[in-house]
């Protein structure tokens, strides 16, 4: 029933179809190759520009001395270094505890000595921000991380050093916390706010942890 109409429709379409000029096969192939080449060139230029456009740096302020927060900072730092970014970690206030070299009593003067004795003396002594229970929580977290194949904070710090992550301790907060450079683990840069700003101004990512 509908067949004649369909036939008419097909004929109509055929008659009204736009006539597209066809290129000779050799020319068509050349055009395709040229387009492909141009697209590849544009993509490569775009990939290059992503890094040459500006410095590719991540700058993180480690303010907290909680093990879980320091871990976050170290994981981010290692990840950023792995993806080819330059990384700076600035340790201030409680965060300096992560860089202490383990001496329980540090600094000069009664106040500094008392204060340093009451604060964690190194990365291995940091507590967790919740459910710490006098250090039991931190031990538990470390055990769980080990079981799950997560790198330990010590391994992450060593990895960060190997990857060339810049580790800077803030002098002002060192004074406040009663610490001097000899109380920190070796090879830590000493810097101030302008050191941070210099790197942060160059960074696409900056975090305060």
């Amino acid at each position: 029933m509908a067949a004649p109409r369909r036939k008419a429709l097909v004929a109509h379409r055929r008659a009204t179809r736009a006539k597209v000029p066809t290129l000779p096969p050799a020319l068509a192939a050349a055009v395709r190759a040229h387009v492909r080449e141009e697209v590849a060139r544009a993509l490569a230029a775009d990939r290059r520009s992503r890094v040459t456009r500006g410095a590719n740096r991540a700058t993180i302020i480690v303010f907290s001395g909680d093990l879980d927060r320091v871990m976050s900072a170290l994981i981010l730092a290692n990840g950023a270094a792995a993806v080819g970014m330059e990384v700076s970690l600035f340790f201030t206030f409680w965060g300096l505890g992560a860089l202490r070299r383990g001496t329980i009593v540090a600094g000069d003067g009664a106040l500094s000595r008392a204060f340093t004795a009451l604060t964690p003396s190194g990365l291995s002594r940091l507590g967790v921000s919740r459910l710490n229970f006098g250090g039991v929580g931190a031990k538990l977290l470390r055990t769980m991380m080990k079981q799950k194949g997560v790198a330990s904070p010590e391994e992450l710090l060593a990895l960060a050093r190997e990857s060339g992550v810049r580790l800077v301790a803030c002098t002002t907060s060192m004074d406040v916390m009663g610490l001097s450079p000899k109380d920190l683990v070796p090879d830590i840069e000493i810097g101030g706010v302008a050191t941070y700003l210099g790197d942060a101004a160059d960074s696409r990512i900056t975090l305060f942890i």
């Binding site: 490569a44 990939r47 290059r48 992503r50 890094v51 040459t52 590719n56 994981i75 981010l76 290692n78 990840g79 270094a81 792995a82 993806v83 080819g84 970014m85 799950k148 194949g149 997560v150 790198a151 990895l159 990857s163």
Partner: protein, 86 residues
């Protein structure tokens, strides 16, 4: 152009973020342009992580990602290619 570029394999099964990317990055840094690195990981996050890495880093392209499940363990297989160094 060389007919066939060499392919290296890196096993990071059992390791968690950021280690798969960290180790893959180190392995790839030592490779030449055009060479491939196959990374075996059990961390599900490694799938978006490799993509994110390639987005941030012009030295790497993710060519292929697949999941292989055997004995109730899923392994994520990433095929990466080292591109031109800058």
């Amino acid at each position: 152009m060389a007919a066939k570029k060499s392919t290296a394999t890196l096993d990071v099964t059992g390791l968690k973020c950021p280690l798969p990317v960290v180790k893959a990055s180190r392995a790839l840094a030592a490779m030449k342009k055009g060479e491939r690195l196959v990374v075996l990981s059990t961390d599900r996050a490694s799938v978006p992580d490799m993509i994110g890495w390639a987005k941030a880093d012009p030295r790497v392209i993710v060519e292929r990602q697949e999941e292989r499940t055997a004995d109730a363990t899923t392994v994520f297989v990433h095929t990466l290619r080292r591109t031109a160094s800058l």
